[in-house]
Symmetry: D2
Subunit: 140 residues, 4 copies
Amino acid sequence: MTETALSPEQLQERLLDSAYNESLGLEVLTTDPKKQEVVMRLKMRPEFERLRGTGQWHGGPIAAVIDIAGTYALAMLLGNPLPTINLRVDYLRPAANTALTVVARVRRSGKTVGVVDVDVLNDAGNVVAIGRANYSTISS
Amino acid sequence: MTETALSPEQLQERLLDSAYNESLGLEVLTTDPKKQEVVMRLKMRPEFERLRGTGQWHGGPIAAVIDIAGTYALAMLLGNPLPTINLRVDYLRPAANTALTVVARVRRSGKTVGVVDVDVLNDAGNVVAIGRANYSTISS
Amino acid sequence: MTETALSPEQLQERLLDSAYNESLGLEVLTTDPKKQEVVMRLKMRPEFERLRGTGQWHGGPIAAVIDIAGTYALAMLLGNPLPTINLRVDYLRPAANTALTVVARVRRSGKTVGVVDVDVLNDAGNVVAIGRANYSTISS
Amino acid sequence: MTETALSPEQLQERLLDSAYNESLGLEVLTTDPKKQEVVMRLKMRPEFERLRGTGQWHGGPIAAVIDIAGTYALAMLLGNPLPTINLRVDYLRPAANTALTVVARVRRSGKTVGVVDVDVLNDAGNVVAIGRANYSTISS
């Protein structure tokens, strides 16, 4: 799988096929096929705020980037983004006045289901949310 | 709880306190404190599309509306939206060329944790996604 | 699907193919292919107790019966029990000095994934736990 | 927290307060308060088998040990086992003819909710299941 793995530039290009992904402004930082890990970054925008003027992230875009980072971690290995079967998000701490660094790591890439773990960190390096998702690899 | 329950208008007003909620365009249709149920509606927009021009919803805004409808179902009963502890979303069918009707029903409103089930339906009445979330009621 | 659906007796027989299921003492009460619903019952035993002598159920056997009821709800429709992909359990209330009634309802039986919701009730009819699980239908 | 953390012997003793835990035969191997990690071991028994004579673990006892290891990872830090709020289990591979090594690591120990990740490994060191659970720390 390592040889055919997508580079950050290729993954970024695929990411932008999706109108929703483009609207968020997600940026692919690194792809590491050996560690089966992708790192992305999402900057704060006024429309991502929970309460206006607080600088605090709403949980909605956090759930969305977890879903997206997970599918592109598998896409790095398998070539294409895959349909999400399900998603779990745990919110550990409020995230305020910070960009989000999103680290997605493949735990299992099976014949029908892929499982990915995602950690979301603030600029201080603290984990603000963690995600776990299943994707349908049969369509890959 | 029934007497102090928020009306659709009151819930809509609270909803718009959040910049993110306003950016989505969510509309509160009904509140039913007896059934502990809230119904919302979200229209399609180009920036919610998975692939451009397909009319298919990205999973990101679906996860977001599940989270939001869940917290406002509890807000109807307890007066205020509450922090999300965690969220699970199962995507059952693709949703395309349709608005989303979001039905959130409180399963348990305990002293520290509230549990809400959310069904997301397309215009044909088919369930396209289901959510289950926990909220921190201790702050209410 | 309705015509080939398994009866309670047939489902009970299949259930006992599993050594673990037999060790629990699960009993199939009803199968309803139209509602895509199976109801089972599990009596309390001393080895299911959280703390000795309290009569309170440990969460472990509750999670187990949710998993099992879910797979046999799909087995009723598809003929065979299926591998569990994942399972979520929410514990809503303590369950003490009661048998458990377990109601499993299929939400989606797709080509590769089946989704089942499970409610667990005490003898007073209160919901003590709820489960949601995914099963691999591709092997059916 | 490190100074008051429970030793493997103390944790094992607490574990046996529960009739269900004792019935499983769980053994505490190590406690590491610095890494916030507990390791347990569960040997195969005929009553844990999915199909008789296959040596394959049923998912039920795997879900149970994930739940238990999670609560005792928090108990190591906080002194007492805590009520489970919810539990997610993903089954990655069949586990057959092997004992289970269960590694539980605390991701967040907050004022009201604790979050724990659990990996379950076979004797070859492969991950067969992963769990994520929330516990109510307010009662600690």
